[in-house]
Amino acid sequence: MASKRSRSKPKTKSMTSAPARVQRLAFFGPPPLLEGEDAALYDDLVGRMCAAVKPVDIIDELYVAGVVSLEWEIMRWRRLKFSVLQASVHDALEGFLNKRLDYQAYAEDFAEALAEILVEILQESPQKDLAEEAKELAHQYARSQPDAVKRVRLRLRAAGLDADQILDRVKAQRAEGLVQEYARREPEAIRLVDELLASSGRTIHDLVLEALPRDLDEIERIDRLISIAETRRNISLREIDRRRTVLGEALRRNLQEVEEGEFEVIEPTPAEGQNPVQARRELRTGRSERTEIRGRRSSH
């Protein structure tokens, strides 16, 4: 009787380790990941949720799987809302820069783009040192030297191109680049954008306000998704709580069995010269002081 080998009892589900639970939750279907989402992060969330809720049976696990999926959705929609707002502010800033950007801010880029185009055009004529000549011509054009302007316009027209279109393209590219630098918080870009905003008597918040009405529908739609997922997640958590109240007694009994199952009573080693039968008798009557009980409480 002393050898209470309760370890041989089948363990209840509450004793499964976190990775085992993650695997078990996979039973409830594949993770609801969209393209580009990280499966490892999802598994991590499952692990953390299991550790926090400690599901005791399959229905609890069913709820936990749902809660994890909803929590994932909430995070996804929140990220999306932030990105939509950010993209809309960037669009507004790009539009503003396209109107306000000073020629000096992209004159160098324009000269380089023009030089590239001129090299292509001049390749058709049998002249040497094309790159140098094109570069020189482009820089002169960028500085509005009349002779260079005349020559470049002639060559561009012959090739079916328009200098103003090239200028527009370079300006748009510079504005786009500047917005990206501004988003990366590069000091030079921040200084330039702030200066342009100040010179027009506006702030970045004005641009946000201008951009917001355009994306309000999208933001509202995402907000609704967040709200639905939050409500459903909270209902699931409440249901887990309710089950624990209703089934509290049964669950407590289960947990008690589990805890008992985790204890192992080890038979005393008979002292030298002592009869093992005598030792067992002492253990049964509780008189033995050498009885060693090793217990290990569950980590859950």
Partner: protein
């Protein structure tokens, strides 16, 4: 009390409102229930039925009484139904997201209008401005694409959300019934 004349008029109008009359209209409405198949019960599908049975056995345990197994089956049905709805919604979003040529109808209309305006203002042979060409060539990507898909598929997502809400509600109440039954059995076994 409506007058006889009014009753007659109502009946005549009702006879006229009998749905689509053309063959195409009738064919289209005949496929209404088959759009996503979510209104079909899981028990009428053999694959889902097997899943329901497996899950019910898992919930109730190996030596469950018939009534407990029946309640577990209801839980399993609701759960599989919920899983089916979520999978359909997930597929709807994922297939649109993974389509590299995805373009929303609103943007296509916007692009058409822009091309038409450019041609009307500058003539058909003048190159379009850079920002117009850039917009025409652009494809939605990343979060913007997802937001666009949510906007385009709003109606379908709303319909799926209704199915999900019903499945969730059925699951909640079937779990409550199952828990109650388990508790009663537990109490009985204690008395014995």
């Amino acid at each position: 009390m409506a007058s006889t004349r009014k009753i007659k008029a109502n009946r005549a109008n009702a006879r006229a409102s009998t749905g689509p009359k053309t063959a195409q209209g009738r064919a289209r409405t005949a496929r209404n229930a088959l759009r996503h198949g979510l209104s079909v019960s899981v028990s009428s599908d053999p694959v889902f039925s097997e899943e329901v049975d497996a899950l019910a056995r898992e919930i109730a345990g190996p030596d469950a009484k018939a009534e407990v197994l029946e309640l577990a089956r209801r839980v399993a049905e609701a759960e599989i139904d919920l899983r089916r709805v979520r999978y359909a919604r997930h597929q709807l979003l994922n297939s649109a997201l993974s389509d590299p040529y995805y373009e929303s109808e609103a943007r296509v209309r916007e692009k058409d209008a822009l091309v038409y305006r450019c041609m009307r203002v500058d003539g058909p042979f003048t190159p379009m401005p850079y920002h117009v060409v850039e917009f025409l060539d652009s494809k939605p990507e990343g979060p913007v694409k997802l937001a666009m898909i949510l906007s385009d598929k709003a109606r379908q997502l709303l319909a799926m959300d209704r199915y999900e809400r019903r499945a969730l509600s059925r699951r909640k109440f079937s779990i409550r019934a199952y828990d109650l039954s388990c508790k009663e059995l537990n109490d009985l076994s204690k008395v014995d």
